[in-house]
């Protein structure tokens, strides 16, 4: 019995030892295809057929194995440290090669214009015309339309024949210009009309596609008072709440002139307490002023010392002249220095 137990334990231990090795090395019949730029792995192996009860666990293990392969590939990439030498390890991914599907739906085709509809109805085909035509007068190929067009630009004619039956006094140049402007305006109008026809019904009317409950409520409130009588005779909607919406502002209400003076005083004291607490604990200008004052004091102290030194040198000269006597002169020098410093200190304070 004990021997069997021991064998069992040994087998289990062996199994446990073998497990990590198996989990790192994954065997596949067909190699996976990797696109490391997208962190994508494609497994072309047929899925294992397993009973329904084990399917979930098999799928999990399959996903784990494939992830293991992907991560193993990632470790093969050139890597570096982020944020200098101390940061986390960062792999440099190659350019993605797999083309991901488009994120947004395809744009809707432009709705046909009125002319296109008409042309389709009549079976009119678009005829391809060359853009260059032979100009007999200029003896060269010229554009059919636009600048330097073949046959000369009619807008630049210096002479126009008055058509038969037209008013001889009418300005033909002005008429041509007017016609051109009208044509341009009509084209623009048609263009805009085509755009308007192409727009979805109702899109121009409602800036917000879906109105929320609150927005609808506000809209009904506005609509209710948008009558000549400000909604006074407006019948209620079936499920509209009966309470009339509040109109106008709140009426001002003042305390009585000779009310409870003690209460008024306590209210004001309370307000004062609030005002006091609002003040920031650190008054910046005051702090800066204090700093400035300290610097001034230091500067003044430094200046006083310097002046004292200069004065000492100035006064030492006569003392030095007097002082080859030696010890006596030295003794005289020290107390004098102290005396010089004292008045300076008094001035500072």
């Amino acid at each position: 019995m004990a021997a069997l137990c021991l064998e069992e334990l040994l087998a289990r231990a062996e199994q446990r030892e073998a497990e990590p090795h198996r989990s790192v090395a994954v065997q596949k019949e067909l190699e996976l295809e990797f696109d490391l730029g997208n962190l994508l792995a494609l497994d072309r192996n047929p899925p294992p057929s397993v009973p329904r009860a084990q399917r979930e666990s098999r799928l999990r293990s399959l996903a784990r194995d494939n992830t293991q392969l992907l991560v193993a590939q990632l470790w093969g990439l050139p890597a570096g440290r982020a944020e200098g030498a101390t940061g986390p390890l960062v792999a440099q991914l190659p350019e993605p090669s797999y083309r991901l599907p488009r994120e947004k739906p395809l744009p809707r085709p432009r709705p046909p214009t009125r002319w296109e509809q008409f042309a389709r109805l009549k079976g009119i085909r678009r005829r391809k015309r060359t853009s260059l035509v032979w100009d007999e007068a200029a003896k060269q190929w010229r554009r059919r339309w636009g600048y330097e067009r073949a046959g000369g630009d009619p807008a630049r004619d210096w002479l126009i024949e008055v058509p038969a039956g037209a008013d001889p006094h009418e300005d033909q140049f002005a008429k041509r210009l007017r016609d051109k402007r009208e044509k341009v305006a009509r084209n623009e109008f048609n263009r805009l009309r085509n755009i308007a026809r192409g727009a979805l019904p109702g899109r121009g009317l409602h800036p917000t596609g879906h109105q929320s409950r609150a927005e609808l409520g506000r809209a009904t409130q506005v609509a209710r008072v948008s009558t000549a009588s400000l909604g006074r005779f407006q019948p209620r909607l079936p499920k509209e709440p009966a309470a009339p919406p509040p109109r106008g502002g709140k009426k001002r209400h003042f305390q009585p002139l000779l009310g409870d003076l003690a209460a008024e005083r306590s209210r004001q004291l309370e307000l004062l307490r609030g005002l006091g607490s609002k003040k920031p604990p650190l008054d910046l200008t005051r702090a800066v002023n204090k700093q400035l004052r300290e610097e001034d004091a230091q500067a003044a102290a430094g200046k006083g010392k310097k002046r004292g030194q200069r004065g000492k040198r100035g006064r030492q000269r006569p003392g030095g002249g007097k002082g080859p006597a030696g010890g006596k002169g030295k003794k005289g020098g020290a107390p004098r220095r102290r005396q010089q410093q004292r008045p300076a200190g008094r001035k500072r304070s």
Binding site: Q255, L257, L261, E264, R265, Q268, L275, T285, R286, N289
Partner: protein
């Protein structure tokens, strides 16, 4: 005439606090009697309870003034202090400026105080701090706002403005008809 609303009281106290700080408490809560602030024709009056009770018997349109006028509310609901409030500001003022005798007259004519006319100034006065202006004989002359802090005052040239004029006792003569 009516008591001040919450916002009006706040505006008044914020303005007063620029001059007398937390000493407003002493104005609100006085040991010698009950005093209060009342609004009449956009002007704020500091009134004792006794006078207030007497004044209630006078119709509003006939009542010219009562107590001491502290200032008025502008149409945009800002509060302006009047020189009549000086008697209450001066004893509690936290920051003071003394004006030299030569510059006294200039200040009483409504001019700013220049550095040359500055006699003394309270230590640690910040810039744009409300101050009460005194003559060298400690007579309150008016109030203003410092243009420079005490530190800066030492460095500026003599013709620089040190205190902006806000109100002075000369207004009792100059603006006699509008002061109530």
């Amino acid at each position: 005439m009516r008591p001040l609303t919450e916002e009006e009281t706040r505006a008044l106290f914020e303005k007063l606090a620029k001059y007398i700080g937390e000493n407003i408490q002493l104005l609100v809560d006085r040991p010698d009697g009950s005093y209060c602030f009342r609004l009449h024709k956009d002007r704020v009056y500091y009134v004792s309870e006794r006078i207030l009770k007497v004044a209630t018997s006078i119709p509003g349109d006939k009542l010219v003034a009562l107590g001491t006028c502290f200032g008025k509310f502008t149409k945009t609901q800002k509060f302006r202090l009047h020189v009549t409030a000086l008697d209450y500001l001066a004893p509690y003022a936290k920051y003071k400026v003394w004006v030299k005798p030569g510059a006294e007259q200039s200040f009483l004519y409504g001019n700013h105080v220049l550095k040359s006319g500055l006699g003394r100034i309270t230590e640690n006065t910040a810039q744009y701090q409300g101050v009460v202006v005194y003559s060298m004989a400690d007579v309150p002359l008016g109030f203003g706002v410092t243009a420079k802090s005490t530190q800066d005052c030492r460095k500026v040239d003599p013709m620089a403005i040190v205190v902006f004029h806000q109100a002075d006792v000369g207004e009792y003569v100059r603006h006699e008809e509008t002061l109530t």
